[in-house]
């Protein structure tokens, strides 16, 4: 374990900026989101690095799977047509201060994009992204990552670096060779750590990681995702979907902010005879998502689309991907839905349906 004094953080980041494009949580007008480190150095922007807020409003999935990504250039010349894949330029991304739920969400995206046939657009970003996880030693009201067997205080591997934010320092350990390399290449910024502190932090982390869900004071942790899976037929046909759909505005914000939602659309953009093809996030809650020629639509009603969103995460994805649930309990959909529909409400209702 190595300590970086908080008052050296900026110098350290400036130094590694030579190698990486750094993204980190930044507070602006009371909202915390990932931003370019560069921008925080501009005094007139009013941006402040925020290492304390646990949940950024937007998830960092956009660094692996951008909201909109132009990937192909095309050119038409009479009958001739040419396609060229756009190259990824620039430095590797380093995402600093991401929480372990978001880190784990990358594994879910990996299952989708890195399974055959491998999505090279995703893979090249994934391979050039370094992550530095801020270990959580406390939960927010809207957190329930442990319900999905995610360890909030971080595991040993997955991210390249992990740190505890404790008193006046950040206490780092490496989770990969790449992380190891950063610690040794920039060793001038780090100090050794007294054994008692290291022991104390690790103990706290172990305790927090191991906290069994039912013991938690957090009511969200009382839910049982496996109930929905085990009783999928009854819940598929239950009335809860219609009830939820009566409220849903189909704004899609839940799918955009969710770190594991990965649906996309493909469109062309053109200026005359040349142009670009891009893909952009799409949402299964939009009525035109599955609408076909002659107006046929297998999910015509809002309740069917809402059910699709939750069934995909809690039933279909696990069926397809060796029982892995596609929710990390980050709680973004809880906080952002204008009519308070969220996955925990669905889990609670589903539990209720079964207990009736």
């Amino acid at each position: 374990m190595l300590k970086l004094d908080k008052n050296k953080l900026q110098d350290f980041l400036k130094a590694i900026e030579e190698e990486y494009q750094i993204q980190l949580p930044v507070k602006k007008a009371d909202q915390t989101d990932f931003c370019n480190f560069e921008d925080t150095l501009k005094p007139n922007k009013g941006l402040e690095i925020d290492l304390n807020t646990r949940l950024s409003v937007k998830s960092p999935k956009s660094y692996l799977f951008p909201r909109s990504e132009s990937y192909l250039e095309f050119k038409k010349d009479n009958e001739r047509l040419d396609f060229k894949l756009k190259e990824l330029t620039g430095k590797a991304n380093l995402i600093f201060g991401i929480r372990n739920c978001d880190q784990e969400s990358f594994k879910i995206l990996d299952k989708v994009f890195l399974q055959e046939p491998v999505d090279q657009l995703y893979k090249r970003r994934r391979n050039s992204t370094i992550t530095v996880v801020a270990r959580c030693l406390e939960q927010s009201e809207t957190c329930f990552c442990q319900l999905f067997e995610i360890e909030p205080a971080g595991s040993e591997t997955g991210a390249d670096l992990y740190y505890y934010n404790y008193n006046d320092g950040l206490y780092f350990t490496a989770g990969s060779d790449q992380g190891e390399l950063i610690l040794s290449d920039y060793s001038q910024y780090f100090k050794s750590v007294e054994p008692e502190i290291e022991k104390k932090l690790n103990q706290e982390a172990n305790q927090f990681n191991g906290k069994i869900t039912a013991d938690s004071d957090n009511p969200l942790m009382q839910n049982k995702p496996e109930l929905l899976y085990d009783n999928k037929e009854a819940i598929f046909n239950s009335d809860i979907w219609q009830e939820l759909a009566n409220r849903c505005l189909e704004c899609g914000i839940c799918t955009y902010l969710c770190p594991t939602c990965h649906c996309y659309d493909i469109q062309d953009y053109s200026a005359d005879q040349s142009g670009e093809r891009y893909r952009c996030w799409d949402s299964c809650l939009f009525s035109n998502f599955t609408e076909m020629a002659h107006g046929d639509n297998p999910r015509e009603e809002t309740y069917q689309r809402l059910r699709q969103r939750f069934f995909h995460k809690l039933v279909y994805f696990p069926e397809e991907q060796e029982e892995s649930l596609a929710c990390v309990g980050c709680g973004r959909c809880l906080g952002s839905c204008p009519v308070n529909i969220d996955i925990t409400e669905v889990l609670a209702l589903a539990g209720g349906v079964i207990n009736d």
């Binding site: 894949l85 190259e87 598929f236 599955t290 397809e320």
Partner: protein, 277 residues
Amino acid sequence: MTEIAKDPLLPGKAIITAIRQDTEDIKTYQVRDVNGGKPFDFEPGQCAMLSLPPAGEAIFSITSSPLAEMMEFSIKNVGRVTSEIHNLKVGDQIGIRGPYGTPFPVADFQKDDLLFIGGGIGLAPLRSVINYVLKKRDNYGKVDIVCGCRTCNDFVHYEEITEEWPQKPETDVHLTVDKATDDWTGFEGYIPDYLEELNFSPAEKKAIVCGPPIMIKFVVQQLKESGFDPADIYTTLELKMKCGIGKCGRCNIGSKYVCKDGPVFTAKELAGLIETF
């Protein structure tokens, strides 16, 4: 560089080498790689994503046999991409990527009698299997082909259906139209009614059905009633598609993606799926 070249979303280039107007709104396109030959290998029932920027991409069944030296697509003009395709001329280039989806298991069909039932443009994927089977005629039993369309002007590959196929050994073609004109000598009526009249025995037979959803529904129901095992009835599903590779999240039925786990399914598989939209 080589890694980038393999991106599944990057289309290859193909050239249109022949066009035939089949019906008022359906044309059949012959397509070759810009360097000659088929753009890629595939199996009967698989699809390709055709690309026509700036209109976009759309998915189509490959209607030619995998044994042919080129590829053919029968394309109905319904929207943005398809209307642009209908404006193309011989010699124009298009983008193509694939093959996508699971094929019809032609190896499992060996020795069996085969009953093909196609409605309208639904004949497109069946034609790939039919021409494959007829080329390897000795490996298969009796072949019956039932085709139905709205009128006799709506058949795609009309000459092949009426002139070539019936000439093959142990091969019968049965045609029906919803509405007959005076010179029509075939059956008049919907496919399920015609099937009832034809009354095929299910023994040692595989049925392969493709057409509009409502036709598939009635035909499959009828085949089951006349004793076909749902595991011996093959059909294809059509959902809106974008990526073709199980990632854009659009074409799922339950935990299956039609673009990669389908479009070919048996009626037995569908029975467990169809309620899970």
